[in-house]
């Protein structure tokens, strides 16, 4: 999870904005209360989306409480409390950050990474015990992805699928009791959002990966030759890449339209329409 999935605030209502932030703070506090201070640093907005999405499908109403945040001590804030989804997502967030850390170490061994890995390893172990069924699946997808990266796979769909499946599994694990048909649709939505995160992140990394000589699915797919002008290469592949980034979003929104009106959430809609659109345009135009 990389923090790509965000809302588009100009189109959010104030009450939705408050709810969205209450989830963020709820997850942050859930980590603090159950895992301690340091893992709080791993929190990002992707997991907030998942929590809101899961709760909206479950039609779950939340309890909120007021508090003061250490980062913004003057403001009164709200947080979601006593929520299984929030606790679950808080755990998964730590687990995925731990996996990301291991991945970073493969690319670059520095003192910071190595020492935090030692520290995070304890959490990884505990979470593998607590969610054995799910973490086995996630580990398998990560392993598949590592193999494809090692082979310098030029099938971008296949590589993206590893990540997409992780997001799908994480969502469905929290929604075991829902109707089969709905589960299918929700799974596909999660898959497509995951697919987008991977393809968007990889596109964003093209320059970096060329400079470091690392694997990037776009370079393999479109046959980048060493020493070629990066801007020219990106211009040449832009149209197809624009398709690759928008295809999963189109599919996700089409699927979301099929869901019962009462299960739809304005925050989820805001994210999969405006939020991800805004982000995609920025990535394609090379803005940060």
């Amino acid at each position: 999870m990389i923090g790509y999935i965000k809302t588009y605030p100009p189109e959010l209502k104030i009450k939705e904005y408050v709810k969205y932030n209450a989830y963020y703070c709820g997850i942050c506090h859930s980590i603090k209360n159950r895992w301690g201070q340091i893992p709080r640093l791993t929190i990002n907005y992707d997991c907030v989306f998942l929590a809101v999405f899961i709760d909206s499908i479950k039609k779950k109403e939340n309890n909120y409480s007021d508090f003061r945040c250490i980062v913004h001590p003057v403001m009164n804030k709200k947080k979601v409390i006593n929520s299984d989804t929030v606790d679950y997502i808080a755990d998964i967030n730590i687990y995925l950050s731990y996996l990301k850390l291991i991945d970073n170490i493969k690319d670059e061994k520095n003192i910071f990474h190595l020492s935090s890995e030692r520290f995070m390893r304890i959490y990884g172990k505990k979470l593998r015990k607590k969610y054995a069924e799910l973490t086995d699946k996630i580990d398998e997808h990560i392993e598949d992805m590592a193999i494809l990266e090692r082979e310098r796979c030029d099938n971008i769909d296949q590589v993206a699928e590893c990540y997409a499946k992780i997001v799908e599994d994480v969502c469905l694990f929290a929604l075991k009791d829902i109707d089969e048909n709905l589960k299918n649709v929700v799974g596909r939505i999660a898959y497509n959002v995951g697919n987008w995160v991977y393809t968007a992140d990889a596109y964003d990394d093209i320059e970096k990966d060329i400079k470091k000589g690392m694997y990037n699915p776009y370079l393999a797919r479109f046959g980048y030759e060493k020493g070629r002008d990066i801007a020219e290469f990106k211009k040449e592949i832009k149209e197809r890449c624009s398709f690759l980034l928008y295809a999963p979003l189109k599919a996700a929104t089409d699927l979301y339209e099929d869901i019962d009106e009462e299960l739809k959430d304005p925050i989820v809609k805001n994210i999969i329409y405006e939020g991800l659109y805004d982000r995609t345009e920025k990535i394609l135009n090379g803005e940060k």
Partner: protein, 187 residues
């Protein structure tokens, strides 16, 4: 058994109506909808009857050259079974038949494209639709699939804009405009 009765349609109904009735029934009896094993078996049985009835009608009408339409003509191809699996969302079975087929014509490429698209393998889907269209440019089914794929980004974009999205910069312009108007009015 009268195939028309199975689908609950009249003999004189158009191909379109029959297809619609067929689709409805497939949806109704889709085994995924039932968790009870007895019900599931029953649904499966019904589904097979429906499939057979539909195939019979299509075949009969074809031989009489009744109400020819392009969509129906595609069922004449060797891939009728594949299309049925796709309709039932049984992509693995459909893919399996295609992989083992040696007849790799335009329709073969098109159908693989459909399966890839359903699976979320969009880059592959794009390439296969493109190939199908190049192999048989006169076929409207492949042409539509290809042009829809090409315009995916625009389709999504227009969905976003119909919801009322406006970029932050535009908002700022509008704010200025609004202020200007107010100041003019209040003068």
């Amino acid at each position: 058994m009268d195939p028309y009765k199975v689908l609950g349609v009249n003999r004189n109904d158009s191909d379109e109506t029959i297809k619609k009735a067929y689709r409805e029934l497939v949806k109704k009896y889709h085994p995924d909808k039932y968790t009870d094993t007895d019900l599931k078996d029953l649904a499966n049985e019904k589904l097979q009857q429906v499939n057979m009835a539909y195939d019979t009608i299509v075949k009969n009408r074809k031989s009489k050259d009744y109400g020819y339409s392009y969509d129906e003509s595609s069922y004449k191809g060797s891939f009728a079974e594949v299309r049925r699996h796709i309709l039932n969302r049984n992509y693995a079975a459909a893919d399996n038949i295609l992989r083992n087929s040696t007849n790799r014509n335009a329709e073969w490429h098109y159908l693989r494209g459909v399966i890839f698209q359903k699976q979320g393998w969009y880059d592959q889907a794009y390439s296969y639709f493109e190939k199908a269209h190049l192999m048989d440019p006169s076929n409207p089914e492949y042409a539509t699939a290809y042009s829809q794929t090409r315009s995916t980004a625009n389709a999504y974009r227009s969905n976003v804009y119909t919801r009322g999205y406006s970029s932050a910069d535009e908002d700022f312009c509008r704010l200025c405009q609004c202020l200007l108007c107010t100041s003019l009015c209040c003068r």
